[in-house]
C-alpha cells in the first residue's frame, strides 16, 4: 500500500552515515598530515579533496539540511569573536613585525609542523567542509 508522502522518511544513504564518513575523513586526514607545507603533494591533495567537496556541495548529489529563512537579532553576537579576531589579524598583518607581534598564521606554523597536529588540523578542515557541503 502506498504511504502518504508526509509519513515517509528518506533512508540515509550508507556513505552518508557518520559510521562511514568519519573513518573516511580520518583516513584522508592521516594522509594529508604526512605532506609538508610547500610540497607538491600537499598542494595537490588540498586541491583534490577541496575540489571534490566543492563539486559535491554545488551539485545536488548530497542531501542538505534545511537552511533558516531568516536570522534573528541574536546573530549579532557572532560579530564579537569575528571583530576581535579581525582586529588582531589586521593589526599584526599591517605591522608585519614578524615573531615579535605574529599573525595567526605565523603562530600556527610551528604547531602544524608536528605530523599528529597537522593530521588533526586536516580532520577539522575536512569535517567542517563536509558539514558545509551538507548545509
Amino acid at each position: 500500500m502506498e504511504q502518504p508522502h508526509d509519513l515517509t522518511v528518506e533512508a540515509p544513504r550508507a556513505w552518508d552515515r557518520p559510521a562511514v564518513s568519519v573513518p573516511v575523513l580520518v583516513c584522508l586526514s592521516l594522509v594529508g598530515g604526512r605532506f609538508a607545507s610547500f610540497s607538491t603533494e600537499a598542494n595537490l591533495f588540498t586541491l583534490g579533496t577541496g575540489g571534490v567537496l566543492i563539486w559535491l556541495g554545488l551539485s545536488n548529489r548530497v542531501p542538505r539540511r534545511p537552511a533558516p529563512r531568516r536570522l534573528g537579532a541574536g546573530a549579532a553576537w557572532w560579530a564579537v569573536p569575528v571583530v576581535v579576531f579581525g582586529v588582531f589579524e589586521g593589526v599584526t598583518f599591517v605591522l608585519a613585525a614578524g615573531d615579535d607581534f605574529p599573525t595567526f598564521s605565523r603562530l600556527a606554523d610551528p604547531l602544524l609542523e608536528d605530523q599528529l597536529t597537522r593530521s588533526a588540523a586536516w580532520f577539522a578542515w575536512l569535517a567542517a567542509f563536509w558539514g558545509l557541503v551538507r548545509r
Binding site: 607545507s37 554545488l58 553576537w77 607581534f101 598564521s105 567542509f129
Partner: protein
C-alpha cells in the same frame, strides 16, 4: 610583551567563538549556531548562481590551502 598580546588576543577570539556557539546551543536560545549562520549565508543567490555557496566554499578551501599547503 607584544607577542604575548597577540597570542592572548587570538586565544580570546577562539574562546569567544566557543562561548557564542555554546550559548547558541542552549535550549530556547535566540542566537543561531555557526552552522545556521553559514547555511543562511549559503542561501544567497544572484539569479541562478549560488553566490553564497561559492563564496563560502571558496573561503574555506583557501583557508585549508593557506594553513595546510602553504
Amino acid at each position: 610583551m607584544m607577542r604575548a598580546l597577540a597570542i592572548g588576543g587570538f586565544l580570546t577570539a577562539l574562546i569567544l567563538f566557543g562561548v557564542v556557539e555554546w550559548m547558541a546551543r542552549r535550549e530556547g536560545s535566540r542566537i543561531p549556531t555557526l552552522g545556521e549562520v553559514c547555511a543562511y549565508v549559503m542561501r544567497y543567490e544572484v539569479g541562478p548562481v549560488p553566490v553564497g555557496r561559492i563564496g563560502l566554499f571558496g573561503f574555506w578551501w583557501w583557508l585549508g590551502w593557506h594553513f595546510l599547503a602553504r
